[in-house]
Symmetry: C2
Subunit: 487 residues, 2 copies
Amino acid sequence: MDELLERLAEIADLERMAMLLAWDQEVVMPPAGAEARGELRATVGRLSHERFIDERVGELLESAAPRDELEADVVRVARRDFDKARRVPGELVAEMARAGVAARGIWLQAREADDFAPFAPALQRNIELRRRYSACFPEAEHPYDPLVDDYEPGMRTAELREAFERLRDGLVPLVAAAPEVDDALLRTGPFPEAGQRALLTTVLRAIGVDDEQWRLDEAAHPFEATIGTSDVRLTTRYDEADLDSLYSSLHEFGHGLYEHQIDPALARTPLGAGASSAWHESQSRLWENMVGRSAGFWRWCFPHAQAALPECFGGATWQEVQRAANAVRPSLIRVSADEVTYGLHIVLRFELELALIEGDLAVADLPAAWNERTHAYLGLDVPDDAHGVLQDVHWAEGVFGYFPTYALGNVIAGQVWACVTADLPDLDERFAAGDFAPLREWLAEHVHRHGRKFSPQETLRRATGSTIDAKPYLAYLDSKYRAGITV
Amino acid sequence: MDELLERLAEIADLERMAMLLAWDQEVVMPPAGAEARGELRATVGRLSHERFIDERVGELLESAAPRDELEADVVRVARRDFDKARRVPGELVAEMARAGVAARGIWLQAREADDFAPFAPALQRNIELRRRYSACFPEAEHPYDPLVDDYEPGMRTAELREAFERLRDGLVPLVAAAPEVDDALLRTGPFPEAGQRALLTTVLRAIGVDDEQWRLDEAAHPFEATIGTSDVRLTTRYDEADLDSLYSSLHEFGHGLYEHQIDPALARTPLGAGASSAWHESQSRLWENMVGRSAGFWRWCFPHAQAALPECFGGATWQEVQRAANAVRPSLIRVSADEVTYGLHIVLRFELELALIEGDLAVADLPAAWNERTHAYLGLDVPDDAHGVLQDVHWAEGVFGYFPTYALGNVIAGQVWACVTADLPDLDERFAAGDFAPLREWLAEHVHRHGRKFSPQETLRRATGSTIDAKPYLAYLDSKYRAGITV
């Protein structure tokens, strides 16, 4: 048992290393370091994989005699990870990686030239390789199941289909009925960078960030990196034309807080991470949207925003800013979509990638299918593939089954939020007083501390008493948008 | 052969990882990350050691069939490293590490309390463990040889003793005869931090630093970290009372340039690093002292220093600044010693640690011996052990055999400098024109590109045609100091 724990600790450390290599590359590495960095990342990734799928780990798992509940949980989760990792031949893993790198290059050119055709064969190859990957799990109900399972262990296609149908059917009329909102207050600026930084410092300190355990840096594509539960690194970017730095920081804070509040006893075990991709996304979305666009948040934040950015907010009211922060406007690009339309971008991708994996949709027909659904769900015409089917990198890299986790994150956030607000009815008042501790503590107690101890479904059941269900999320949106913004 | 190269590349990558972990910890890590960082560093260190001393590496080295000269060099150097690493039982390595950590804690308290006595048993234990370490190499001429060999492969105690006797006998009269120099220009300030930063930017750019491949950050104890030959990271610290940030940057640049100019073909092999600790120190000292205190350097640098720090250098001349930069003044603390007295601090430590390992000096007698030699070599009385025998961390950590490399670095720098200036007689004029490329290129061609391809001694023979010899270094100092500063 001790040897097993030691080996698993080593693998957890290597995963932290991989995270540090990525953080360093995006935040501080001199540009010319990229080539050597590629080698370092490959070596750490390979070592971590090799050390995990080693025969010896199998023997140790076979003979492991857990001495307490924690050790029993570790063995159970490690055995599941091990069995899954051993099922896929190393050769297929390498082939998927190579094909992904090649397709990514072709995709970049295709997007640049706004021409889908040259990308089609590379995408076809990625799809075929994913089908081969799925075939390594012949017991799966559906060939898409093993793909989703990589990010959302235990989630089945049938469940997803049901949840997303409900989500789609709820969102389409909401988007159509959303009132026109003037959001110039948050879209015009200019918001001087120094003022944005001052505001972020105030907001992050209030919600739970301190210099002893956290960093905030700049990165072209904001992300969060956990190097240790007491070494949590957020990134953001500053654009003087908007205040997205605030919302991206709240988003990354949600990811960071999750990792930060995992029970320290789970450190250096396979349990010391978030329960799944969707769970992680639920926490980032919760802080970005449920908290950061709430009335209470803006009642508290507004004087700080005025002080930091007087030229932007001098003549406004907190109600106007909150209203602007909740504007709904259908648009073509997923990554800049608002809280309501975002889900439809994901539903569309889920439906299409499912059809591609099933073989019901030919790659050649993908652009037309994309454009048709964009019209049906968002009421928009796609002018070109760069603003349509070629906008995301995921399929180019061979990543299928990941898109759903974005929307599942919102759905879970809705379920969690319904429970939090039922348990803490004065939450909005607390936000208005700048007190975010009750929310942090609720999340720690009901979700964060468990890490990967329970399956995503079991984590959900324990936190909310429910299975995956889009209703609370739709109800949250509905109360906000159908009735007009709450303010 | 390919498997061997792959394994060695993995180990080289792990060593880079260890370097990045250290850099990150000193420069950017939130303080509370220290505990998890300790685990990460231990894991990477252990993996790198285990993967190297693995039986499989021995088999691969046995059966390796090099296909070219480079591969033959790799096998030769890797075999030497492997044989040495395998000779020491893992248990002894672990015991030395544990004893070093424990003794370091005791030393910190002893220094704080200015009381040598409680530290004595811990030091005694470190010495005994080093004797056991030496005993793993029964063929060694002298028990100190295997200790030095860890840092200066192939260097023998007998050679060191001879070189250091000559050094000591040359330095003592030089120090006694050094003229009084008023160095208030570089010691009074205040030197505003912004001005220091501006000056450093100009100087580093001129000597060869660009943002594509280098970084400069702050650290409490300046150091250099090579994450890749195109990812070189210098650190410095700013104190408004002096201009040490300039000299520490030149020093770290010397280390960085060495690694930066190693032949890229040696990357990810055991050859892709400096030839030895002394060789590394020779390069840092060369840039810090031979370049940074030269007349040519200050002729060029002075107008930039005036522009960046007008309040400090407005009324001065470059001759006055250069004179101040070359002041000699015996002092008690090694790390703040000037170029001339520094060597005597090292000779003293070398003689004492040699006597401790030989058993000719009892630990209890160490403080008295320290104070006696400080008086003999530097003409100073040691007021307390904190300013004497307790000032350095090395012996507390069990590091014996490293001190000599500091002085050897100066000696080698002197030998190299004699050759450089013979080959490039207009070097000082080039410096005066802000042109440091000829020096960089000479060093690349004669030293840097070879990395660890040749032994330190062979590297020296190729670069200078000589064995280790203190004469050129003493002649360099003599021409500067006995005759008064050159200006």
